[in-house]
């Protein structure tokens, strides 16, 4: 009967992973990825591995989304700066 729980957790992980692929915007993807980390934590706990669940929790639901969000922010700011610099160069040229 404990297999039911394992099957449910596996289904949840599969559904969340599919959703993470289907969402296209990286900032929104980070949110789905953190939910994926949470469902993986559940799966590991159901499989009687709480130590793995703890490390998955730290990495999957906290660190990875934070890294993605920070790099998206930096990339956006850089492209904004580039656009601004090109505009200024055009204005200076004319």
């Amino acid at each position: 009967m404990a297999d039911v729980l394992i099957a449910l957790a596996l289904l949840l992980v599969a559904a969340t992973a599919t959703a993470a692929v289907a969402v296209r915007d990286p900032a929104r993807q980070a949110l789905v990825l953190s939910v994926l980390g949470l469902t993986l934590t559940l799966l590991f706990t159901v499989l009687q591995a709480p130590d793995v669940a703890l490390s998955q929790l730290a990495v999957g639901s906290a660190l990875t989304p934070l890294l993605i969000l920070l790099s998206v922010r930096k990339a956006r700011r850089r492209s904004l700066d580039q656009v601004r610099a090109e505009k200024e160069a055009e204005e200076g040229g004319t």
Binding site: A9, L38, L54
Partner: protein, 152 residues
Amino acid sequence: MNAWLVAAAVLMVAGLGPVLWCVATGPLRRRVAAQNTGTLLVCLVLLLLARGYARPPYTDVALVVALLGPVGTLVYARLLGPEMGDDPQQGPLTKAFAVLATAAVVLPLCVAEGPGRSLVKLLLIGAILVGGNVISSQALAGARPKEADDHG
């Protein structure tokens, strides 16, 4: 498979399914709120699992989720705040749901646990869950678009 595990399975499907749907669709503020509710539900499921498997150390995972969840929501509110400024605000229902769900799971667990150190731990986790949810929903409601941020 005892009653605690059945409750955990029901909460897993009936709770995390809608959370997954809300995280993947809709305006950004609702997505962040859904992620916050997801951490709460996972924490409650972990508590039920620890009781159902009769393994008290599993409660530690739930404690870590309860601590990390609101912190993550605060980070999202800070980093995604400019983007979700125009999204509709969450009603008071989300906060009420969080408090009710926590009480509905933690109180029966406390009754089954009996007095002792683990009872204190359970109550502590419940208090962290409710307090963290109140804090993070306030942070979500207060996230406004920032005008000065672009010039920094």
